[in-house]
Symmetry: D2
Subunit: 293 residues, 4 copies
């Protein structure tokens, strides 16, 4: 088995939980692990005071765990999740997620992602790049990754999305990254992949949503510019934020300078968001994220 970057142990399981807060939740979960001879590698929890909601991420070692892998979900659900009305997601860290990259004409995020992929920084499989332009085919070819181009028009949009869904299914894609993909996805598409589409927007949202944020930032005369990575929802640029960062600028910077400096932000912010997602550290709650780190 491959070494998993960032994982505390390659033979472990991660459970993400959210449920109404009440006494004894942590005790119940940790007792389940201890009772079955698991060793907790990481545990983190959070309580949203306003909504009284409990969130938890726990990872334990499977080496000497007494419950067989195939029965863990069932046992955990019956003994713990159901009684406490928990919403749970289970992940075996050995399972390698399959990612598709959507890109248009700007290659900086794509290049950055592929360099990380190439060096083994991420425990992920990237078998597919999708684009509405031919420009990045050459980059895909260099890294030996399948490239599918869709010429999208106003008329064929839904048709194309249907073809894309089929493609994603055939490649068994778990997560999509919009690496400066200049197309708006339909609500249906977004809903089908809820919590599994990560976008990078080139401003510190909620400032400067929509098109040409660097132009708007220049016009407004801001002294910082930013980038925001978020899960895609039906509301454009309004999904739950995973990562944000900014960089200082001044009156000397033209729109072109802002775009150049911004590119370095975009790729790093996007990469951090992807890292959190791949590490199963993110939970979506209402329109915000819990990022356990």
């Amino acid at each position: 088995m491959d070494k998993i970057p960032g994982a505390t142990n390659r033979d472990s399981i991660i459970i993400l939980i959210h449920c109404p807060d009440k006494k004894g939740l942590v005790s119940a979960v940790t007792r389940f692990v201890a009772h079955n001879n698991g060793n907790i590698l990481e545990i983190d929890q959070h309580v949203d005071k306003l909504s009284k909601t409990f969130f938890m991420r726990v990872e334990w070692d499977l080496d000497e765990f007494l419950i067989p892998d195939d029965d863990i979900e069932k046992e955990f659900t019956e003994q713990i999740a159901a009684p406490f009305d928990m919403n749970c997601q289970l992940f075996f860290t050995r399972d390698k997620p399959r990612m598709a990259i959507f890109v248009s004409r700007y290659g900086h995020c794509l290049h950055d992602m592929l360099a990380r992929y190439d060096s083994g920084e991420w425990y992920v499989e990237i078998p597919l790049i999708v684009s509405n332009h031919p420009d990045m085919r050459q980059v895909a070819d260099r890294f030996g990754i399948d490239f599918h181009e869709f010429r999208i028009t106003k008329e064929n949009k839904l048709e194309i999305e249907a073809a894309q869904k089929e493609l994603l299914a055939s490649y068994q894609i778990d997560v999509m990254v919009l690496a400066r993909y200049m197309q708006i996805l339909s609500d249906d598409f977004v809903k089908e992949y809820h919590g599994r589409i990560i976008n990078i927007h080139h401003s510190f949202l909620p400032a400067f949503p929509g098109a040409r944020p660097y132009h708007s930032a220049f016009q407004r005369g801001v002294k910082v510019i930013g980038a925001t990575s978020h899960y895609v929802t039906a509301d454009l640029d309004d999904g739950p934020i995973i990562e944000q960062d900014v960089i200082h600028v001044n009156h000397r910077h033209s729109v072109e300078d802002l775009a150049r400096k911004g590119r370095d932000l975009e790729k790093v912010v996007l990469a951090r968001a992807i890292w959190h997602h791949l590490q199963r550290r993110t939970l979506i709650f209402e329109n915000r994220t819990i990022v356990f780190q």
Copy 2:
């Protein structure tokens, strides 16, 4: 004469210029200085490409300058400013600006400003604190600064502003700082002191203008919060930005935590903006600032 913090020389003059761009501007200004035996201590310029506007800040030593202080403005205007259609501001660095602080009930920016004042960090006189609440009188008393309280209501607003203007005049105030002053100034008031009122807003504008930005930031689930210092114009929270900065936050931070972390940003961002202003490094152009540093 006192030592002037941040000044390159205490017996110097600073000229801020803006005018239509053309060939020979820098040469004309520097030749005026050199020809009259001045030594340039700092020179900085900027050209706005879109509007073809030229900006310049030049400071020179007066020690051996051949033109008497009282004639410099006239000579410079006749020989340089008029022929090139320049808009100019002249400042002798020995002239100490007089500042009034406007404050409501939050004291962190006020305390921070007074600590800097007390230690001699700023070359400024602060003879007056104005408030719409009595809370900060005690702080003013500690530092021996006059404190004037105005009980403002919807009805007496213009009347109060008239009284404030009189007060400002009687104290010969050059610049006002709104250090978390929770009152909106009238358009007339703002216009009268154009470029001389500095505000601190507790968000990274243009995100979260108006009231309760920390609440809005929490609701939106942002991963950075910010502070913005700007010159006050008739459009609330929309004036030319002088300084901005941000700090990272995460899902664990309550609104109260955001406010607490934000206070440290607010006071530092405001202090930097005041520093630039006192150093005569700021020029307002349309709705942006040039900050020569």
Copy 3:
């Protein structure tokens, strides 16, 4: 009872734990809480992989807890701490720590701390300021805090420290903050207050330890300067780091500029470290800190 800033609940208890790592630790602690009808408000843990050491911070609500306050330490020790060979510290959040500030001639950190104290940002009592110079007496007077000056010479150093210890005892001081205190404490003094003396050093340690770090930073031509807050140990500037931060500088900045910009860093970094300490979020392990946040 006062509102406690930053506390999740004013009637709660915090336990800081470290011990050899083994299975079942989290489960044992959380079960103790749940079994006695406590509600966990926050839990955080960390395992040092190299030394196989387990660290934990847990806070629970005492409102309906079944064990009386006076018996919690005994019960927890017998049932949990002893069997697992835990090193524990217990804190009732209602207990207000008593802090002494040591200062020399620079007042920026002192002013900043007193402004926070004055506004109620910290849940702490500051009854005492100690100095080796008279300069800050006026500041202490303004805030109504006792000021003790000790004229320290090479000859009387140990004698003075004995007097200081007596003073600290008489004021029942729990924690000391060296807010730019330009004196080296003896090893004995430091050992007696292990983990209870917080210092601010004006560089990003381990770069530029010792005297005049801004001069050294200028000489080296660095492009960032920093500040470091750490617990004081016998090795000067080498104690466990609690907080660090930096700010960008460039070739235009003189040593005086670095010192001015650095002051803003120092006070914020020191305040963050104090916050963590007061929130009982810090554990010292070897020469590093665990800061649960």
Copy 4:
């Protein structure tokens, strides 16, 4: 002619100057430009107060400049540089610098540089990659760049350097970038390319020079890690710093995590330093840099 990214005008000239400070320097230079019908695009200057040294960067438009390109250096030297005892470097912005990349086994900086090169972000030619390992040949091949591997041993070091110099000459290389090149260059080699070798070191120098800085940072328990790009001099990791930046870390980060997070810093810091160098914005003075920006 290609569009030059970051250049104000493609048909312009940049002069970098340093000399003893005296009155009339700026006036003399700008008058030379104005007198010959040049339009100043950017001008920046700096005076080192301690050594009384003057530094200047001036760029002007050649479109209507009266002196033919081939005579500018001679005319400027005779009229301006010689009388003022100036040390000057002239660059026509249309001249595209030729860069060689030296790399060992880590590919993140190399990938990042090639992605920028590929997208046209930099106005540079990169015809050559040199390595002491075969690992990065595949990356070079993907981008169609010549790759030369040298197996370096203690015995053949000088011999290899001789071969490398020949190679650099044959490719007409102007500037070398050590993109995580794990070999120490000889003093002679370094002297020959003074001011033309840029290195990236994975710490905030002067902290953690030499090998394995992330291990040292982990051991020391720092709360920030950094990266430093500098010109290479005979003293290892002690050359003039061009760019530095840091990122926050905490007790949860293993050495592996520090290295992963550090990689993102390294590539961005290196890219910024290269940008400044390519824009002719850097001047080396003693062991520091002036970076006009």
